[in-house]
């Protein structure tokens, strides 16, 4: 304390000390109020796949130059179709793995023969840009087993999600960090 040595308490000092005490008490009360309202619970961002329309903004609006959003595959929902509309262009020339037949702009979906007539489709996340083209294709004519999710090994968990701001369907929501994914399930 750097008060001048004075015998009597000056008016200004009395006011100042009083105000200090009051504001400390107010800050303390605010702290108690905030602490009682807050929880040791963190929020993370996630895409509600049942709201998502696959508009493609996830690929372009994430603060990361390579989006934190990737396509994921709920295998138990997949029909393992030969003519996968998430994999092939509409009206493909041939059901082959050539790039010209594929819907995915980065060739991130791997097509593998399992048994007649089934094919398995897996996502190579290192190539996926989260554009959602396959999501729209799969949902349009297939079972809708491909969907977009925010991958938490990549997401920076910004206070305000840059994709969420521009999401036309309000599909990007805060979820508890303890349950950080909103997965599609068969027959919800």
């Amino acid at each position: 304390m750097n008060h001048p040595p004075s015998e009597t308490l000056s008016r200004r000092r009395f006011l100042k000390d009083g105000l200090w005490t009051v504001s400390l008490a107010a800050a303390g009360a605010a702290a108690a109020a905030l602490a009682s309202r807050s929880r040791a619970k963190e929020w993370v961002w996630q895409i509600d796949p049942y709201k998502c329309i696959g508009c493609g903004r996830c690929a372009t609006h994430c603060v990361l130059s390579e989006s934190a959003v990737k396509c994921v595959h709920a295998f138990e929902m997949c029909g393992y179709c030969d003519l996968c509309t998430g994999y092939f262009h509409p009206d493909p020339k041939a059901l082959q793995t050539g790039a010209e037949h594929q819907l995915c702009p980065t060739g991130a979906i791997r097509r593998r023969f399992i048994e007649e007539p089934y094919f398995e489709f897996t996502i190579d996340e290192s190539r996926c840009i989260g554009c959602g083209k396959c999501v729209v294709g799969c949902a349009a004519f297939g079972n809708g087993s491909l969907f977009l999710q925010i991958r938490h090994d990549r997401c920076q968990n910004c206070n305000e999600c840059a994709i969420g701001r521009v999401c036309p369907s309000g599909a990007i929501v805060r979820v508890p960090a303890s349950a950080p994914y909103l997965l599609k399930v068969r027959n919800p």
């Binding site: 929880r39 329309i53 349009a140 305000e160």
Partner: protein
């Protein structure tokens, strides 16, 4: 056909039953990498508390500009580049407001701690957070090469912009239209080393201006800094230019790049008192006028502000489509169509958004008017000062003035051997 089907993206049914495999095919599982472990959030709070403690010690006891500068580099690296600017105390203001108005959002303890810790430290030690812990301040502090002095009236007037920004940020967070402070954080693009052109330009602008006008964001924009200013006014201890006594040598007069050093004041002649008293009464009247004017203006602009809310924008597009002005449905309209929401619920929500913006705009306007009025009153009150002192509100606790004070130099040289000798 394709369009209609793709519009119904999420409503896809199970068109093809999942196969019964005859081979021993093992179905892969969907991986779900977890977010950062919660313990790291508490590490962040620990680092913040430790940095604030160290900053207080360096500023008030050690009086070391070098130590403060070193700590600011650490803060820049840790809270800036390592934590990528999130979580930060400045942005936590938005979380606090959001949690007060949105019952579904529970404030995380870490956000509460980031909001409250710097305020408590400021009440005790002055704005040591701004001095060396805030990463936004630290990055600007390193480009203060040619600071020009800003006249006090201009500084005060420009700071009104920060109050306006604070009011807007609180309003937007309260009505659920987004966290403005985080959205327009000018340095977050640097911290993330990502390329977002508009934000890079904003950051470069602030750094460029910051070469001549020291720390422009802290002084004229930062809403959290305004809270700390008020806490700083009441700080129990705070930065003192001289370690012991002011010898009125005036050497520190131009030391502060932020214009936070206040010279001694001459006593006012008695004859001016009645006139000053009349002026004060007039200014109190003006305060009421400014508050009413602010409220009126805030109410006038509320509709324009509300258009920034996604619900209002969607309702606008729906009305345009009804009027036949939108041929190709926008993504928002497609999403609305497949969501199954009724028009009635949309109108209700829209009306609610406008109602909240109307109230919020009114209150924000009254608040800004109040601040402007109080500023005028403040400027016409005579404060008695006999020494050169750091302004408790404006001092950013950077410690640059220490080296300008001859008493500090003596204190410094005498310190290791016998500090009692120097007083």
């Amino acid at each position: 056909m394709g369009l209609i089907l793709s519009a119904a993206a999420v409503q896809a049914a199970e068109r093809f039953p999942p196969p019964q495999f005859e081979t021993d095919y093992q179905m892969p599982t969907l991986t779900t990498p977890p977010p950062r472990a919660a313990v790291w959030e508490f590490v962040d709070v620990g680092v913040l508390a430790a940095a604030l403690g160290l900053a207080s010690w360096l500023t008030l006891r050690k009086r070391s500009r070098r130590g403060i500068a070193a700590l600011s580099v650490f803060s820049l690296l840790y809270f800036g580049f390592w934590r990528q600017g999130c979580i930060c105390s400045v942005g936590s203001l938005g979380n606090v407001v959001l949690s007060l108005f949105d019952s579904s959002y529970v404030l995380p303890l870490t956000a509460a701690a980031f909001f409250l810790l710097p305020i408590f430290f400021t009440l005790f030690f002055g704005r040591v957070f701004c001095g060396s812990v805030c990463p936004l301040g630290a990055i600007q502090d390193w480009v203060v090469f040619r600071p020009l002095s800003v006249p006090a009236w201009l500084e005060t007037t420009l700071r009104l912009g920060a109050w306006l920004y604070l009011a807007a940020a609180v309003l937007f967070a309260a009505v659920g239209a987004g966290l403005l402070i985080c959205r327009y954080d000018p340095f977050v693009a640097f911290f993330r080393l990502g390329f977002n052109t508009p934000l890079w330009l904003l950051g470069l602008l602030f750094l460029g201006v910051g070469v001549f006008i020291a720390r422009p964001y802290c002084r004229f924009v930062c809403p959290y800094g305004l809270l700390l200013r008020q806490a700083g006014r009441l700080s129990f201890w705070h930065v003192r230019i001289t370690p012991d006594e002011c010898i009125q040598c005036r050497l520190c007069e131009d030391a502060c790049p932020f214009g936070a050093i206040q010279p001694p004041t001459a006593p006012w002649p008695e004859s001016m008192r009645p006139a000053e008293r009349r002026r004060l009464v007039f200014l109190f009247g003006l305060l009421l006028v400014l508050m009413s004017l602010g409220g009126w203006l805030g109410y006038r602009v509320h509709a324009g502000l509300a258009a920034a809310h996604p619900t209002a924008e969607l309702a606008r597009q729906v009305r345009l489509r009804q009027a036949g002005l939108i041929a190709e449905p926008t993504d928002a309209l497609r999403a609305f169509d497949v969501s199954g929401r009724t028009l009635q619920s949309l109108w209700t929500q829209e009306a609610d958004v406008f109602r909240r913006f109307a109230w919020g705009g009114l209150l924000a306007g009254v608040f800004v008017g109040f601040v402007a009025g109080v500023k005028l009153i403040q400027m016409s009150i005579h404060f008695k000062r006999t020494d050169y002192e750091a302004d408790r509100a404006g001092c950013l606790a950077c410690g640059r003035c220490f080296a300008f004070c001859p008493r500090h130099r003596i204190w410094e040289t005498g310190k290791p051997t016998d500090s009692g000798e120097t007083s």
